[in-house]
């Protein structure tokens, strides 16, 4: 039971990062390493704010905004200095590592004793059987809310323009729009999602950990690829929905490996192996990341 709850909780949190990865990796075809930095950035900002007595709910939009800024910097470096996509992300990710250390003052912060969004919202009585699902419910609501917002956004003119940059950059230019600023916008949104997920993750774990971001992009991309496989089977499914399922399936695989007795130290290699398998199975469109 605890295993299922764990899968749902982490699955929902990483679904948020995957929304961002869907924008960068799938729509813009941009392997954005920044998320490995913006995810712990969100954690760090949240931990510091909560330690300073800020309302946990307020930390969510703040994290989203600081994530957006990190994404914009990556985008700016990429389009203005013509630095390759992967490298621009790595530059910002690396600098965020020091930023996080500077901001937190050390490599980890505990906010376990402090208020969190999970402590503030309890649908069921704590200690009852259903009480164990309280966090899952909060996370589910957040994910669904953001999914709906993202779906609505992608139907707007701005959303369509973002999609056309990934589809056909030249068309965006002939429409009289600067494709560079559209890319920056996409990266900002994606990292906003990553930092928001980081904020929630920090409150979920009750701590900030400098190394928590390692492999975020890999996980998010795996979620997206697994999720989009589902749309091949269920044609009517929206990509955002499939990404959520992708995240849950991915978590279930990891959870299952743990259940079989693999030590937590093997987590990253399982992640890597799983991504490799998924990419090999799906090796048409996603050559870019393998290269």
């Amino acid at each position: 039971m605890q295993l299922v709850i764990g899968i749902l909780e982490e699955g929902f949190i990483y679904a948020l990062v995957s929304f961002g990865a869907y924008i960068t990796f799938k729509i813009l075809d941009f392997p954005d390493m920044t998320v490995d930095g913006s995810f712990p950035f969100g954690m760090c900002v949240t931990a510091v704010l909560i330690l300073n007595g800020v309302n946990p709910f307020i930390t969510l939009p703040i994290s989203f905004i600081v994530g957006c800024i990190a994404g914009m910097i990556t985008g700016f470096i990429h389009v203005k200095f013509k630095i390759r996509d992967l490298l621009s992300g790595i530059i910002v990710m690396t600098s965020l590592y020091s930023m996080n250390l500077r901001l937190a003052g050390r490599a980890n912060l505990s906010i376990f004793q402090r208020p969190s969004i999970f402590k503030m919202v309890n649908v069921f009585e704590i200690g009852s059987v259903l009480g164990a699902f309280n966090r899952v419910i909060v996370l589910f609501l957040i994910v669904i809310l953001l999914k709906i917002i993202l779906d609505m956004y992608l139907e707007t003119k701005s959303g369509y323009l973002l999609r056309s940059v990934g589809d056909n950059e030249i068309l965006v230019t002939t429409l009289g729009k600067n494709k560079e600023s559209v890319k920056v916008l996409g990266l900002a949104l994606a990292n906003g999602f990553a930092a928001l997920a980081g904020s929630i993750y920090a409150q979920h774990r009750g701590s900030f950990e400098i190394s928590a971001g390692t492999g975020t992009l890999v996980i998010a991309v795996a979620n997206v690829i697994i999720g989009l496989q589902l749309t091949n089977v269920f044609r009517k499914m929206k990509p955002t929905t499939s990404v959520i399922f992708g995240s849950l399936i991915y978590r279930a695989c990891i959870g299952f490996a743990m259940f079989l007795g693999m030590p937590p130290s093997d987590l990253k290699i399982i992640t890597a192996a799983l991504l490799l398998v998924v990419i090999v199975l799906n090796n048409k469109k996603y050559k870019k990341l393998v290269e």
Partner: protein, 257 residues
């Protein structure tokens, strides 16, 4: 009016492979002129279009659009008033979106791309009507992703899309070259119709001498970065494919082929 004023363009300047495309090139296209441009490969036709649109920078000189110097403006800003159709039909449309979505994008050109919904359901009949005018039966395929349509169908949609917003200039870059002869004829007819309807100032690069002779109000032939034939009005009307072929032969002899 489009004006190119003593334009210089070199590829790979300073290298062994340095290649001069334009050396003091001048051209003036009057309002509502429809210019067909022909010439052998490497004569600078496509470079000229790229220079006007801003896809490539020039080394010296100025480009004027209705008297306004646009030489230093980025490509996307020049596109406010210019529509462009490329040789490759895939370049004018978004392949993963359907026809309606593509048309809605095109119609929104020069308007803000904000947070309003892109697709207005009330407009679908209007889009369908516009498609019907093409006479290709596309009005029954409006929800099909454009990527799964044929090259000719996509080119027809690209052409329609460029003329859906308020533009004054139309740049056609060998836009029939990738199509089969029959489809090419259909697209060319359509082009002529749209240009006349919207009263556009147009430049069309083509390798099809028949189109160059039959369509347009002015004919240019380019060779090694210079205009070697420039006919308009009655002179243009009396031009024949044979005249142009003769000129081509003359050039080849000069070059020793």
């Amino acid at each position: 009016m489009i004006e190119l004023n003593s334009v210089f363009k070199y590829y790979n300047p300073g290298l062994v492979t340095e290649n001069c495309v334009f050396h003091n090139f001048n051209l003036k296209v009057e309002d509502h002129e429809f210019v067909s441009v022909i010439g052998s490969n490497g004569s600078g036709k496509t470079t000229m279009l790229n220079i006007i649109c801003g896809s490539i920078d020039i080394d010296h000189g100025n480009i004027f659009l209705d008297g306004k110097d646009i030489s230093r403006e980025p490509e996307y800003k020049r596109m406010y008033r210019i529509g462009r159709v490329y040789q490759n039909p895939a370049m004018g449309t978004c392949p993963s979106m359907n026809i309606i979505e593509n048309m809605a994008l095109a119609e929104n050109k020069n308007k803000p791309f904000g947070l309003a919904r892109l697709i207005d359901k009330k407009k679908i009949d209007y889009y369908r009507n516009e498609l019907k005018k093409l006479g290709l039966g596309l009005e029954d395929k409006i929800y099909i992703p454009v990527g799964s349509l044929s090259g000719g169908q996509r080119q027809a949609i690209s052409l329609l899309m460029t003329t859906m917003s308020e533009i004054d200039f139309l740049i056609l870059d060998e836009h029939t070259a990738a199509l089969d002869p029959k489809t090419a004829d259909v697209i060319m007819e359509l082009t002529d119709k749209l240009v006349k309807e919207k009263n556009l100032t147009s430049i069309m690069v083509t390798h099809n001498l028949r189109y160059a002779v039959e369509y347009g109000s002015r004919l240019l032939m380019m060779h090694q970065g210079e205009v070697i034939i420039d006919k308009k009005g009655d002179e243009k009307k009396h031009m024949q494919v044979k005249d142009i072929l003769d000129k081509f032969t003359e050039i080849s002899v000069e070059l020793g082929n």
